[in-house]
């Protein structure tokens, strides 16, 4: 289990990817709601933040190997967060999730 070490803050316009305590995250806007998600495809940890969202099919396609993930499933495991206007506060967990893009 990943260690919870506090709460972070990000502007919703940031979208991502951004880093928090070693975790690479991004903000997804799906069905009128904002979600903080781990920026890591379940296949080979590819950057979902750079993927393509198909709103009709409800999928996001990872740019690395074109694996499609169901957005509905992804948001079920979204990081606990609260948005107040432009600001999003989210649970910070210590860890790493895939290779750095930088």
């Amino acid at each position: 289990m990943k260690e919870h070490i506090g709460f972070g803050e990000v502007e919703r316009s940031m979208r991502g990817p951004f880093y928090s305590a070693g975790m690479r995250l991004f903000i997804a806007f799906y069905r009128e709601r904002y979600y903080v998600l781990e920026d890591s495809c379940k296949h080979r940890s590819g950057p979902l933040s750079l993927g393509t969202i198909d709103m009709e099919k409800g999928t996001i396609t990872c740019p690395w190997h074109e694996l499609k993930s169901c957005v509905k499933s992804l948001v079920k495991s979204a990081i606990p967060s609260i948005r107040m206007g432009e600001r999003i506060e989210f649970k910070v967990t210590k860890g790493t999730n895939g290779a750095s893009l930088s």
Partner: protein, 456 residues
Amino acid sequence: MKCFESNEIAKLMHAYASAEPFRKPEKTNPAHPWERPLRGNDLSGLDLESPLAAGELATNRSLFFQRMLLNVYEQSMLYLPRAKLGEAEMQAFQAFYDAILVGFGEQLRVPLENLTFSFLDREVEVTGKWDGPLLEKYFLDVIAEQNTKPIPTIERALESRSPGRLFKYLLVQEAADHFSEASPMARALLGNFGPIQSELLKIFIDEYGYGVHAKKHSTLFEACLSSLEVKNGVHDHFIHYMPSSLALTNYFHYLTINKRLWFRYLGALFYTEASIPHYHKLMSAALKRVFGDGVDTAYFDEHVHIDGHHSRMVLKDLILPTITTHGPNIIPEILLGFSQFRFLQEIADTDLLAQFDFIDELDVQMACGPENALAVYSRTGEIATFVEPKGEISYSHIHDDAELFTVESGTLDLIVGLEPIGMEAGQAVVFPPGRLHGTIVTSDSCTYRVERLEAK
């Protein structure tokens, strides 16, 4: 679910706003607690269909809705003046609680709540999987961080050349709530909802001073105002209430009258109880620093102590047991209440800081003219001229655009802070957009000119 057509709402609002308690007053100081002017003449120009956005709280539309909503909520509560009811007061009492008028208000409540508070459901959202321990950590983390920071409104008032004036204005903004402190909690107590009902009652007992009137929190607040020679009758300062201050008060009525929002109420209650000890500690110290030993700070000192207990009680005895009983599905609602009120409080603080700037800036304008204030605007040449007799009141209101206000002949008082500001022929001031202001004519006749300004 759409409950009314907009023309029905407009008709009801017209009927409500034109009732005796809500008409334009003869004086700026209300004669009794039931005099709550609504500026019904503004109605025809207001959009009654689109809910307010987060950025629209400091507008005349917001002011109109929030004033009306406060009146609607408070018609279900009893207000009596301290002095004996004379014939005129008895008529006013009957008029405020008139059954048909109360009925109109009840019909308007839901449309008004939708207009004023639905933006919170768009601007605040909770996502991800939360549980009780995570909620507790989040709440305590937010409050602990707040407790390390200064309060911007207190800091700003202390920096003013006239800090006493701004602190009195700040107290008056809080008065909308404190005169009836914990009345929404009384509404929340009704029914039968298990052991937490009794836990809430324990908090309520403190709020109402254990049946000792001198200890009741609203009484302590009235004593504070009195020690500063600020009028302390219920809603004596209705004319000065800013829409964002009214929104803070109305939000708790909104949560407690709508039982579906009960879990949200728990979160909002924790936020306010947990925020107050730090705020009131700084407020008490600031009031003593500005006004000396003569100020009665018992209201604030009491909250520093008792709300330390209340925040613990709300979390440990109300929220966490509720989650244990009803499961994690209610957690997003509790978080929403906490965050919506926090968001609303931030908007209200920003609005009050802007009003403080306006009040202080008026000193400069009165002394040196409006040139500096005009520098950020372009003149439009769109001018309206008004000729008004002695005693004519332009009840406090807000403009979406800036205005250059010039007295051409006669005299009047500006109603901005608690002390009127006299203006005479040849004097002019700029009203920035979003700033609450009014006027009363003090000479036999007064002619003034208003020019709309545009931001450069």
